[in-house]
Symmetry: C2
Subunit: 322 residues, 2 copies
């Protein structure tokens, strides 16, 4: 939830003059997304989202993110399309920040995930992997395996949310890095396909994905790791129990569009451990490095430590319903 | 900035089934408004705002607020109109909270107030007072003069944002209550007409008010007190200097539509002191009663203590350009 940057109406009007979008009708801050400032923008020609990229996004990486969305949309994926200005450029500057306007996607993200959402999510993830298949740019996964040890080191000596958590993560990390697969298919991955990044329309009996958003963690990495992120994000219940029916639906949705190789399937447990570690470690890092009394909501790292325990106990891909 | 309550899509869909608005297209939390949860709602028939009323709003007062908006809109004021369900009722319940859908207003609130905004704001305030003139319900101003001493008492003994502030407010409050006028015209007032509650469209050279929102502090009180709130809200610069040109424009805009009586004009300095006290005291109360480290942003009471000092020094209505 975030609007970090306020935009004066003079600045907004002169910014919009660079686009063929017609007169401004409305402009409201959106309470979703945590990294950037997002505004719902309505002009004479329709609805759009204006994003101001805040500190956590490296401006040098924006051509990758915007190019990826443009590329996938051209291949039929329902994702935000960066709108080009009259000069042909989608990336501009507003209120001293990089800024872009993207098309508005209809749909509602599911506040409570049901089994019926999971097949369509798997299908949408595979569609994204397909649509990005021939994208020419690449971006290393800064929050991938190479980034996990520095994150854990950055928490050393800090107060932990529970006793023994540092040692537990240290052990799981060592084992996960030793077993990490290297010969699996690589491509552009979303890397953050949580429920609030998937919009659905429910006009029929079965929810239909109307769009995927927020590609600002996208990177070039193992495609099956993206599946593992989704298993973590979509298939645990609020009490952290694993719902194998949701996992089966998600995996079946994915495999109906893209084949998971034998090696990818065998690697699922370690990939799922890695995905749980990634979110446990970034949350723990924020937890350890947020000053007492800071005006931000800290997310609980234990949510992912609990998921990690499930994956650590998994003896093979059959734990995920395969 | 606030979305406090998450609404599941099942609950939202069954809620919307009570309205003649067609299928749901989109539903996004809005990062504006501090008291309630607001969502931008798009359906087949248009754009709307869905509000869930949170703890600070007394459900018994909602018929006043919604009735007032309905009444004023019927008299031509550009304000949100509560949408009635198929059963004729605008006030319903969603996610265990009172909830209502209102029409969407075009426009953008000014992040930086210019002189050209102030005349139209004065005019819009007078238009609101006119449109509410024959509204039959009433609501006492719980944050009016009778509420200020309890607010100050609730801060007694707490750490102050600056030395001597408690005593300064105590003295100003005593003097203001002694001088408070009682024989001025009374009606329905907005009581919180800050820039983020006034939308403008800028299609011509002069900004035009496209709508007024957020009537959840509205109450029955001195009309000229509402003018005093606006002088506090619109006519101080970021360094807390008073901009008399803005005040002249605001008052001229108001008086072109509604006559300010001699007694109202003479009372402006004390009314302005009262308005500055009201915002200084609610902010101080929140300041004094927010636990150290709470996850909320505390607004600085000193912003209004500084305004109060200007009003205290004002020798008469000429300080406001009259």
């Amino acid at each position: 939830m975030a609007v970090y940057t306020e935009v004066t109406d003079e600045a907004l009007r002169s910014f919009l003059a660079a686009y063929p979008l017609g007169d401004l009708i409305a402009f409201r801050g959106i309470a979703e997304g945590v990294e950037n400032s997002n505004y719902a923008l309505k002009t004479e020609t329709g609805d759009f989202i204006l994003t101001l990229y805040e500190k956590r996004v490296d401006p040098a990486e924006l051509p990758y993110f915007l190019g990826l969305m443009d590329h996938m949309a051209a291949r039929g994926l329902a994702c935000p399309v960066p709108v080009k200005g009259l000069d042909g450029h989608a990336l501009r500057s507003l209120a001293d920040r990089p800024a872009a306007i993207c098309t508005f996607l209809p749909g509602v993200w599911p506040r409570r995930v049901r089994v019926e959402h999971c097949g369509p999510v798997g299908d949408a993830l595979a569609a994204m992997h397909d649509a990005a298949g021939d994208f020419s740019l690449s971006r290393p996964n800064t929050l991938g395996p190479h980034g996990w040890l520095p994150l854990l080191d950055g928490c050393r000596g800090a107060a932990m949310p529970a006793e023994g958590v540092f040692e537990e993560l240290q052990g799981a990390l060592r084992r996960t890095l030793e077993e990490w697969p290297h010969a699996l298919p690589v491509g552009q991955i979303h890397a953050d396909l949580f429920p609030d990044n998937v919009f659905f329309l429910n006009n029929g009996p079965v929810p239909r994905v109307s769009g995927i958003i927020d590609f600002y963690f996208a990177c070039t990495d193992l495609l099956a790791y993206d599946v593992a992120v989704c298993l973590n994000a979509w298939c645990f219940e609020p009490d952290f129990s694993f719902n194998i029916t949701k996992a089966r639906a998600l995996l079946a949705g994915y495999r109906a569009r893209r084949v998971l190789t034998h090696a990818e399937i065998e690697a699922l447990p370690v990939l799922c451990r890695g995905a749980a570690l990634r979110f446990a470690l970034t949350r723990l890092y924020d937890w350890a490095n947020t000053p007492e009394g800071a005006m931000v909501t800290r997310k609980d790292p234990m949510d992912y430590v609990r998921r990690l325990r499930f994956h650590t106990a998994a003896r093979g891909p059959e734990a995920y319903g395969l």
